[in-house]
């Protein structure tokens, strides 16, 4: 994966969990020419709602316009921009790596160093998993590449604001009457 540059922003979008809502969000990005870097979606804490974590590439469009257009979707209830320095981010990586000769031991060692897990072992390949900060996953992926990655899947990041005193959730828009329009 390419590095997480300054043109990327994390949006945490709370939506009503209704059929087609993901298609609406994805369709909006395509229609307005915005780039999605990664996207993760799953049910949120309240029944009937889901949280979509979108990492957007804003090299070409202003984040403000993306957020405003997104907020016009009827099913979007709340959008927060998460400052990477003030939020916790996690991602999961699965990789099958070629392990001929003495490479198996090296990959296992590497996985242990990163505190990853061995999920399956084959004659000449091994499947490992790692969850953690996306940058840690980047490092792990880079090191695995030297052995030959057969298949690799990452989930895209999920994020929540940090709980410490410093945590400042920059609420771009909220469910209250401030600026939500049709």
């Amino acid at each position: 994966m390419s590095e997480f540059g300054s043109h990327h922003h994390i949006l945490s979008v709370l939506v009503q969990n209704r059929p087609g809502v993901l298609a609406r969000v994805a369709g909006l990005f395509a229609r307005r020419g915005f780039n999605i870097f990664s996207l993760a979606v799953a049910p949120a804490e309240d029944e009937g709602f889901s949280r979509i974590t979108i990492v957007v590439d804003v090299e070409t469009t202003s984040l403000e316009q993306i957020v405003k257009q997104l907020f016009k979707l009827i099913e979007v209830v709340k959008i927060s921009e998460l400052d990477p320095g003030r939020s916790v981010e996690r991602e999961l990586l699965l990789a099958t790596v070629r392990t001929t000769g003495d490479h198996r031991g090296q990959v296992v060692e590497l996985t242990n160093i990163f505190e990853g897990k061995i999920l399956a072992v084959g004659v000449d390949a091994i499947t490992v998993s790692l969850d953690g900060h996306p940058e840690k996953l980047d490092d792990f992926e880079e090191l695995l590449a030297g052995y030959g990655i057969v298949e690799l899947q990452r989930t895209g990041r999920v994020a929540l604001p940090k709980l410490d005193r410093e945590a400042r959730l920059r609420a771009v828009s909220t469910k209250s009457n401030q600026g939500k329009a049709g």
């Binding site: 316009q65 405003k68 016009k72 009457n177 600026g179 329009a181 049709g182």
Partner: protein, 582 residues
């Protein structure tokens, strides 16, 4: 009480106050047409679903109430895509109901199945596939609520056939239930008080202010408030294509339409202004020309109910998210407060005298035809205008005739101008005029059309004749796709590619007569007045006048695409005075 989903649908529409539906039945929507027989709702049977959509738009334009279209699944739904997109671009409240194949057939490529909500997702403000008869009343309430509040727009409800035939317990959701069901939809109508004060201060301090008025003023029914603001501050007004009629054209402060084919004064005031007071307009590319060269010295106050319009094209100095009527009234109050505290408005005298100078030197004009020469389209419009009863509603298609209509008509009343601004839908005028006449049967409705546009949707004149909807149609027939011809003449070295329509066929008079209308052909200036008199005297059926006009006539002024507004092209006889636009 148990009733069918179809009965619930029709009852829900009655509960929403619907008086007229434009539609055409078919397989999947069939069950809904049965209870319609017992309903007081008037159904207008169209000849093509696109017509139903544009009729609903025309109806909404002139009444302010949402237009309703009812059609079946598959091809009927895809035929609605153009009117939905048209309504979305021009913020027209409209509710479209489509039939869908039964729930157990969805996804099987059943006969007349299509992914209606998928296809219309990006051309509606919101859409919904109903999956149970029980959900129909709530879906209808949500659709009307969303279509008519905030920035208005089209909504669509897709209803599978079994949901129409299944039984349900009738229930009518309360306002609270509707609002609670839409936690992500809370339109903001009240402008921020601090921003309103800021706006008032800028207005009082500006020496070269201009009110840049868009369709939002009409949507908010803010014409009276606008007039009060303009008169209070003595600031001139430009009305965009979507806002014609929002401020009376015969008012001394009205400068008419700016933009690509605006008049020289309206274009120039924006370029020279130090303060654009944008009320419900969206800095459309047809207004701004090259954005980087647009109104370079102006600060901007931008009032729009849609926050996404703030800063989309031009970054405002004072953004105000809210309903135009409420915000204008608040600005007036804030200005009066400032005045009461001794603030004096900056001297705009020299600005106003510059404006008078431009108006005198650069009126809209065309070369009248010499005796024996071809008829001028602008002359036809002037004659139609001067013979139109008060309150006449003008509806146009898209192209040269649309621009001439906006330029040469005098709109003194709001909701008397209906056109396809954003999407530019050729063929809009005939069905939209029918919808307008249904909405306002007391008014004369003239559709101004081109011969290209007319051939796209003329079949709806059959609907008009059968349903006794006596609209009047003026075709400005130059046997060309005129606007494209103009661009080819000016920018493609007169290489005319695929723009010539036959002057022989169709025979528009015979065609009109075949559709149950009165057909009249006009070739020369002397025939214009008698033809209009005859058309105005007929009130029991539609009338079509085929005006054979000069194909060489071009729309001026013009700002070529991609150029800045200061590069405006004037008619030849005004070019010599160009220096006067300083």
């Amino acid at each position: 009480m148990k009733i069918t989903g179809a009965q619930a649908l029709i009852r829900s529409l009655e509960m929403e106050g619907v008086e007229t539906i434009f539609g055409l039945p078919g397989g999947c929507i069939l069950p809904a047409y049965d209870p319609l027989l017992d309903s007081p709702i008037r159904h207008i049977l169209v000849r093509h679903e696109q017509g139903a959509g544009h009729m609903a738009e025309g109806y909404a334009h002139v009444t302010g109430r949402p237009g309703v279209a009812l059609v079946t699944s598959g091809p009927a739904a895809t035929n609605m895509v153009t009117p939905l997109m048209d309504a979305y671009m021009d913020s027209i409240p409209m509710v479209c109901i489509t039939g869908q194949v039964p729930t157990n057939a969805i996804g099987t490529d059943a006969f007349q199945e299509c992914d209606t909500v998928g296809i219309t997702r990006s051309c509606t403000k919101h859409n919904e596939l109903v999956m149970s008869a029980q959900d129909i009343p709530m879906a209808v309430r949500q659709a009307f609520h969303i279509a008519t509040t905030g920035r208005p727009g089209p909504t669509l409800i897709d209803i599978p056939k079994d949901c129409l035939t299944n039984l349900m317990d009738w229930n009518w959701p309360t306002d609270e239930e509707v609002i609670d069901s839409l936690p992500g939809y809370r339109p903001n109508t009240k402008g921020h008080p601090r921003m309103i004060k800021e706006a008032a201060k800028l207005i009082m301090a500006s020496e070269r202010p201009i009110l840049y008025v868009g369709g939002g003023v009409l949507k908010a029914r803010a014409a009276e408030a606008l007039r009060e603001l303009a008169e209070l501050t003595n600031i001139h007004v430009v009305t965009t294509l979507m806002a014609r009629g929002a401020f009376p054209d015969d008012h001394p402060l009205c400068l008419g339409m700016p933009g690509m084919h605006g008049n020289a004064t309206a274009i120039t005031v924006m370029q020279k202004s130090d303060l654009l007071i944008n009320l419900g307009a969206r800095f459309d590319d047809r207004i701004t020309g090259k954005v980087s060269a647009f109104a370079p010295e102006a600060k901007v106050i931008h009032v729009d109910i849609d926050p996404a319009e703030q800063g989309k094209v031009r970054r405002p100095d004072v953004p105000i998210v809210g309903d135009c009527k409420q915000v204008i009234e608040e600005i007036i109050k804030a200005i009066k407060d400032l005045q009461a505290n001794g603030t004096v408005q900056a001297d705009t005298g020299s600005w106003r005298s510059r404006i008078s100078g431009w108006r005198e030197q650069f009126p809209l004009s065309y070369e009248a035809s010499e005796p024996g020469e071809a008829l001028k389209p602008q002359f036809c419009l002037e004659q139609l205008r001067d013979n139109a009863p008060e309150g006449t509603i003008l509806v146009s298609g898209v192209g040269q005739h649309q621009m001439w209509s906006s330029q040469y008509w005098t709109f003194n009343e709001p909701y008397t101008w209906v056109n396809s601004g954003g999407l530019g839908t050729m063929g809009f005028s005939i069905p939209a005029a029918i919808g307008a006449k249904v909405g306002r049967p007391d008014r004369t409705v003239w559709a101004i059309d081109g011969d290209g546009c007319f051939q796209m949707t003329a079949q709806e004149l059959v609907t008009a004749a059968v349903e006794r909807i006596p609209i009047k149609v003026a075709i400005l027939n130059n046997s060309y796709l005129g606007m494209v011809r103009q661009w080819q003449e000016m920018f493609y070295e007169e290489r005319y590619s695929e723009v010539y329509l036959s002057p022989e066929v169709p025979n528009f008079v015979l065609w009109a007569e075949a559709m149950g209308c009165v057909g009249i052909r006009v070739d020369s200036p002397e025939e214009v007045q008698p033809a209009i008199d005859k058309a105005n005297s007929i009130d029991d059926r539609p009338v079509v006048i085929d005006f054979r006009v000069d194909a060489r006539e071009k729309v001026f002024p013009m700002i070529p695409a991609g150029f800045g507004n200061s590069d405006m092209l004037l008619p030849e006889w005004q070019e010599a005075n160009r220096g006067g636009l300083k």
